[in-house]
């Protein structure tokens, strides 16, 4: 459920985190950019570890912001430019917590998730991405 090969649905994530006592919700979406001829990115993962790492990150967020609820989905496989590879939703009683929990989750994902990108270009070339981007 944290990893999927289907397009991500923000509405599903919102439904999982929102509730009548949580008045602030922050969502982050990372989408594939059209950098230098890129037409899509093939995402692969060490899937069992990625699932565990996501669960650790969500547990840490809940520990830091106990009244928040955070959900995260990462898409794998070939994702075309403009579509989302990751979606995070964080809801909390107040907006400070919602923003903080959402930001925490994406920063930890970038540092810790065993996921790799291979950029696919219009000219048929392919390239592994081996530096942190700053998207």
């Amino acid at each position: 459920m944290h990893l999927t090969r289907d397009p991500l649905d923000v509405g599903d994530l919102l439904a999982e985190v929102q509730s009548p006592e949580r008045g602030g919700t922050c969502v982050f979406l990372g989408t594939v950019r059209n950098d230098a001829g890129v037409t899509s990115i093939d995402y692969s993962a060490y899937e069992s570890m990625a699932v565990e790492e996501i669960e650790r990150i969500l547990a840490e967020a809940r520990e830091r912001w106990p009244r928040s609820r955070v959900m995260l989905q990462h898409r794998l496989g070939v994702i075309p430019v403009g579509e989302a590879s990751i979606a995070i939703a964080a809801a909390a009683p107040h907006r400070d917590e919602a923003f903080a929990a959402c930001r925490y989750a994406i920063e930890e994902v970038k540092k810790r998730l065993p996921v790799w990108k291979k950029e696919l270009r219009g000219d048929g070339s392919e390239q592994w991405v081996e530096a942190h981007d700053h998207r």
């Binding site: 990372g30 990462h74 994902v109 998730l113 065993p114 996921v115 790799w116 990108k117 942190h132």
Partner: protein, 82 residues
């Protein structure tokens, strides 16, 4: 001798020509020693950096982490998720 599962991902899988294998090493040992053995068995992986990222049983660890029979060592190219 103990049997250690070894997994390769992304570019390292291309270098190894393999995604999932095992090596036999004297146990207990360390992640670094497993990697040294991997470089012998899969010569393509000599192109990996001197100190690649590694996970032991699905958690990132330092290369001096202790390894025993049955453990799973994964070699991870620089992470680029999100």
């Amino acid at each position: 001798m103990g049997k250690i599962s070894v997994r390769f991902f992304a570019r390292y899988a291309e270098l190894a020509g393999c995604t999932w294998s095992h090596v036999n090493v004297d146990t207990p040992t360390t992640v670094a020693a497993v990697i040294a053995r991997v470089r012998e068995v899969f010569p393509g992986t000599q192109a990996m950096p001197a100190t690649p990222l590694a996970a032991l049983n699905q958690r990132q660890v330092k290369l001096d982490a202790p390894v025993t029979e049955g453990d799973e060592v994964a070699l991870l190219p620089p992470l680029s998720g999100g």
